[in-house]
């Protein structure tokens, strides 16, 4: 039986999360098909056909799929799922929104946020904010799964040449309608795809300081910028910067935590980073327990001098 991967895309490009999800699918064995559900998504479908290790691209192209409304995408998945042993989506906000809806319609208990594949029916997933790892075995005939993208190394985005097949989608449910989107504009790398992340916490004291103090460091390192829940709750930065149990899960090569104390729920979002640096004035802060390199001191002095030092 084949495995279906639900692509994360914006109708133009395929997001890296798709490549991690294909990597997870490869561990299950069998052919891999990728579903691109969207509107005027030809470019995204073409990009998907290049993904290494994929044997077919299914494209469902319709106006009512363009904004990825859960009701419409889930109905499409239900129509397709019967032909597959597994349906996988990345645990992105889209994947988390759509997959459980499809699972319930199929009478399947979804397996959320897997971090390892033990066999075709047994998976490892973090629970309690990553403070425990559960190995679970599914008894359902079709497995619906969301994938923790940081746990699987992305497959190559190019090299493949999978054929593209058009499929039809169920009609618009009419239950919900897209109104508007406020996308945070940034020239920086995307948080979940970045090699280096510079994050700020409550210690930054204001949104202004993220700009004045932290941005030069992120610029110097070519880094994405993130934040702790405390900084987002205080209104310093937008919600999509949040790294943590309920925000984004990241695992860059280098994570620089500035003025972040290290609450359990924040650590849950970044502790799989390869190298962690912490800058904090409180030497007892829990962030130092996970940091490879820590500097104790006033961030408003340390960060600018770090930028100077990096220029040398």
């Amino acid at each position: 039986m084949a495995v279906l991967v639900v692509a994360e895309h914006d109708n133009k490009t395929v997001k890296k999360a798709t490549l991690n999800t294909v990597a997870a699918a490869q561990k299950l064995g069998g052919e891999i098909h990728v579903l691109v559900a969207g509107h005027q998504a030809g470019e995204a479908a073409k990009a998907a056909s290049g993904i290494s290790g994929v044997s077919k691209i299914l494209v469902a192209d319709a106006p009512h799929l363009g904004d990825f409304l859960a009701e419409n995408v889930a109905a499409l998945l239900v129509q397709l799922a019967k032909g597959y042993s597994h349906v996988l989506a990345p645990a992105t906000s889209n994947g988390k929104n759509v997959m459980p809806r499809a699972a319930a319609l199929l009478d399947v208990q979804q397996i959320s946020d897997i971090s390892a594949v033990e066999s075709a029916d047994t998976f490892v997933r973090p629970i309690y904010a990553g403070n425990a790892l559960a190995t679970v075995k599914s008894k359902d005939p079709i497995k619906l799964i969301t994938v923790r993208t940081t746990a699987f190394d992305a497959v190559a985005a190019s090299g493949g040449s999978a054929p593209i097949e058009s499929i039809s989608a169920p009609a618009d449910s009419g239950l919900s309608a897209f109104v508007s989107r406020e996308v945070s504009k940034s020239e920086r790398p995307e948080l979940t795809a970045a090699k280096i992340i510079v994050s700020g916490g409550r210690g930054m004291a204001s949104g202004e300081n993220f700009k004045k103090v932290l941005e030069p460091l992120a610029d110097k390192l070519g880094a994405a910028m993130g934040a702790s829940r405390a900084a987002v709750d205080a209104g310093f930065v937008p919600n999509d910067w949040q790294v943590g149990q309920t925000g984004k899960i990241v695992a860059p090569d280098l994570y620089v935590a500035v003025g972040i104390s290290g609450a359990i729920q924040h650590l849950a979002g970044m502790k799989d980073s390869r190298v962690i640096v912490a800058i904090n004035k409180d030497e007892e802060a829990p962030i130092f327990q996970v940091a490879d390199f820590g500097v104790v001191g006033d961030l408003f002095q340390l960060v600018p001098s770090l930028v100077e030092e990096l220029k040398k």
């Binding site: 403070n131 359990i264 040398k312």
Partner: protein, 249 residues
């Protein structure tokens, strides 16, 4: 408009969980339990709808052990009007909970169901979406703003790229994100009042729902610990380490 809110009793978010030595799960004996933080936001939102005149009655539901009564009493103290406990000793997984809630929704006929987006124990993030699916209702997950507009609701959602606003037809299911509201502290007079509010107890069998788990937990282990790092004296030493030891810049 009647609002139904579903809540879960979980290990308090401040407790450091410990994995049991036999790998069967995490230690829950003698551990402080509380309402799942996202569910507290759900209760608060319902109470605010009532205070604003948009909701007339708030029914709060929990599924699980008898001790969930305490959690329901907390929700009643925040301002819910009455409570239903679906009592069972069986481990409940999201699909089973969604099926139980579906039966209660069919009975209670609310216009709106609010749930937390995920429980901080199993981190599944499924129940609200599953309930919406079973009912054939629209869903708006990860809500940071909820505005009632007659027979529709306008919901702003926290998504990966920023914020997204949807218009959904009622009846509907909404799941809460962190910034929807800040739940109030319960006051002693309200705790006293909550004791007098109605709390009904039902059983899954009575609702005709098979709650047998579909996922078997084989084992639960602690994640491997990061080996502890070092403190360096200054940024010069830090840059040296990053360049020459870790080789990440």
């Amino acid at each position: 408009m009647k609002v139904l809110v579903a809540i879960k009793r979980v290990i308090d978010f401040n407790v450091k969980v410990r994995v049991k030595a036999d790998g069967s799960g995490v230690e829950t004996a003698n551990v402080k339990m509380s309402m799942n933080p996202f569910d507290e936001i759900a209760v608060e939102e319902a109470v605010r709808l009532k205070e604003a005149g948009a909701a007339t009655e708030i029914v709060v539901v929990s599924c699980g052990a008898q001790a969930c009564q305490e959690t329901l009493r907390t929700a009643l103290a925040i301002g819910a009007d009455r409570a239903i406990l679906v009592e069972t000793a069986t481990e409940l997984q999201p699909l089973a909970v969604a099926k139980l809630l579906q039966k209660l929704v069919e009975k209670e006929q609310p216009k709106l169901v609010i749930l937390g987006k995920q429980a901080i124990d199993d981190d599944a993030n499924q129940t609200g979406q599953m309930l919406a699916a079973l009912l054939g209702w629209p869903q708006a997950t990860f809500a940071s703003k909820l505005k009632m507009e007659g027979e529709k609701a306008q919901v702003t959602r926290e998504v990966d790229g920023g914020l997204e606003t949807l218009s959904i037809k009622l009846p509907a299911v909404v799941t809460t994100d962190l910034r929807l509201n800040e739940p109030r502290y319960v006051t002693l007079p309200n705790i006293m009042k909550a004791k007098k509010k109605a709390l009904e107890t039902l059983k899954p069998e009575g609702l005709g729902v098979d709650v047998t788990p579909r996922l078997a937990t084989i084992k639960v282990v602690e994640p491997s610990k990061r080996k502890s790092g070092m403190k360096v004296a200054d940024v010069k030493a830090l840059v040296d380490k990053l360049r020459n030891d870790a080789k990440v810049i």
